[in-house]
């Protein structure tokens, strides 16, 4: 089955009001080209589930978001995501704030087709008091109370991988695939942008196949976009773009806000975006961060 498509074709399959999972972590390996395609679309009223970074900030600032399910939204080296912060402080979005591990449990519950996973995480905190939809339940096996972390069912997930074949075998060769496998499993449809399209026999080498973290049946669409994670990192290919994130963050203090940033960089296509940020060679030359 050939699942290759364009970013526009993938985004055309999304609908207003959908719950969208976004893979990656903070400023690391986000499917930013797909996020940019949403920014160019008419989509609105989305619920976004993510270990958030500028993906969440941009979608909030552009008015695409009704609700964010998050444990953090951060650019790491810039701790506070400027546009998410604005959205929260203006009260313009609904939120479901949970613990990082609770998000993992919610994605697992959705992946496994069960309504919830019991955990003690969240007990005694405002995660429970501020989320009336998260129930605390009795256990049939002990006398303690437990948090019933509900399944986070996703209508679609967006993920960026290093390499993929057209059948949807996706490889993440960087040191961490984060929770991307669970985002793929928790979603009805999963669209994966990739830095490089490869032939299937690339995976015949077990060392390469070992870095495939979900089965191709979980992949709906494959969208080859070299550099598609920019300005986030796609280790080992490129790091995150520190000057770009600084400019993005500074734009939140300008009168024009996100519109100024989008006017300068977004463009009508990914090709135009990449020209606006210095081209693919410049993206590929960005040094990996030292942690």
């Amino acid at each position: 089955m050939n699942k290759q498509m364009t970013a526009a074709q993938a985004v055309a399959q999304l609908r207003d009001g959908m719950t969208i999972g976004i893979g990656g972590w903070g400023p690391r390996r986000k499917p930013m080209a797909l996020v940019r395609e949403i920014l160019r679309s008419d989509l609105k009223e989305l619920t976004v589930v993510a270990y958030g970074g500028a993906d969440v900030g941009m979608l909030c600032a552009a008015g695409k978001v009704k609700k964010v399910v998050f444990a953090f939204v951060s650019l790491d080296f810039i701790p506070l995501e400027p546009y998410f912060r604005k959205a929260r402080q203006s009260g313009s979005i609904e939120v479901m704030e949970i613990d990082e591990g609770m998000m993992l449990l919610g994605l697992r519950a959705a992946s496994w087709g069960i309504p919830f996973i019991p955990t003690e995480v969240g007990l005694g905190t405002d995660i429970i008091t501020q989320n009336p939809d998260i129930k605390v339940i009795d256990s049939p096996y002990d006398d303690k109370e437990w948090v019933a972390m509900p399944a986070l069912k996703l209508d679609a997930s967006l993920i960026h991988a290093d390499k993929a074949d057209v059948r949807g075998v996706c490889q993440i060769a960087g040191p961490d695939h984060y929770m991307d496998d669970w985002f793929a499993r928790a979603a009805a449809k999963t669209y994966v942008s990739c830095d490089e399209l490869v032939e299937t026999d690339y995976f015949h080498d077990p060392a390469q196949a070992r870095m495939v973290h979900w089965e191709r049946s979980m992949t709906t669409g494959v969208i080859p976009i070299a550099g598609g994670a920019h300005p986030t990192s796609c280790s080992p290919l490129y790091g995150f773009d520190v000057p770009h994130f600084k400019a993005y963050s500074a734009s939140a203090k300008d009168d024009e806000g996100i519109q100024g940033y989008l006017n300068k960089f977004l463009g009508a296509s990914e090709d135009e975006y990449q020209r606006n940020v210095g081209g693919l060679d410049a993206i590929r030359a960005i040094e990996l961060p030292s942690y």
């Binding site: 953090f72 929260r88 402080q89 704030e97 613990d99 955990t119 007990l123 040191p175 929770m179 030292s290």
Partner: protein, 266 residues
């Protein structure tokens, strides 16, 4: 072991904070931020060689990495993969001790990393979010590092948003006891504290050289339990300072506490 006479407050804090990892045995030591990370690294190099550590990205190390940019030929001492999803398997096993720096810590030891002021739907200041604090606080021991001890951090009343569980009887989950909660040390630019006072009240453990008990109380928004004689935080040894210098070759520790004061302010 020669006690140093010339050391910075940051170095004093690193050595004091490393104590919290000393008796942890074979557990993951996680220090978020330069001083907590150096504290865990120092413990692994001295008092607790069994401590486990990650590279703050995705690998477990058998030797801590120096902080900051490393030379191109540097080879990290990796021993296993430890991506973020696996971190939670470790967290929920309880075999971890994390040291972090929340924005607020109240009298119950509850902390806030999420939002300040306003209402929850429209906070005055949105911060990071709850991150992993809820899970950390109920799963394993935790310590705090506070570079600026004041009444905005150690505030009167309850945290604006409770990110981590503390010794608050009103929020105690059914079937749990306050003793299930394990907050170890609170290391600040003024002193070391813990929650070992009566009924888990915050307690002064040691004062940094040149700091008075009055200073600590004035800068804490709730009563601090104190004994009549409070020891002075032990000065680093020259051997500890050498290890810290090797672990932090770019001297990032000099930028962690305002004006990088000397360790002895007497």
């Amino acid at each position: 072991m020669t006690a140093a006479t010339d050391y910075t407050l940051a170095e004093l804090c690193i050595v004091a904070a490393s104590q919290s990892f000393a008796d942890e045995g074979e557990a993951l030591g996680t220090g978020i931020g330069v001083i907590p990370r150096l504290a865990a690294s120092l413990a692994m190099k001295t008092t607790n060689p069994d401590l486990m550590m990650t590279d703050s990205e995705a690998w477990m190390l058998s030797e801590p990495n120096p902080v900051g940019k490393r030379s191109a030929d540097f080879v990290p001492a990796t021993e296993s993969w430890m991506g973020f999803s696996r971190i939670f398997d470790n967290v929920w096993s309880g075999k971890r001790h994390a040291m972090l720096g929340p924005t607020q810590i109240d009298k119950f030891g509850q902390s806030n990393t999420s939002a300040l002021g306003g209402t929850y739907d429209k906070p005055k200041v949105m911060m990071l979010g709850a991150r992993g604090f809820p899970g950390n606080s109920i799963s394993h021991p935790n310590s705090f590092f506070v570079p600026d001890h004041n009444t905005r951090v150690f505030m009167d009343g309850e945290c604006d948003f409770v990110s981590s569980i503390g010794y608050n009887p009103a929020r105690l989950p059914r079937g749990h006891s306050l003793d299930d909660i394990d907050i170890r040390l609170v290391i600040t630019n003024l002193c070391v504290m813990d929650f070992g006072g009566p009924d888990h009240q915050v307690r002064l453990v040691s004062l940094h050289p040149g700091v008075t008990v009055q200073q600590v109380q004035e800068n804490t928004g709730y009563p601090v339990s104190m004994s009549d004689t409070v020891p002075t935080t032990e000065a680093p040894t020259t051997a500890q300072l050498d290890i810290i210098a090797a672990l932090d070759p770019h001297n990032q520790r000099a930028h962690q506490i305002k004006d990088n004061p000397p360790g002895n302010r007497a």
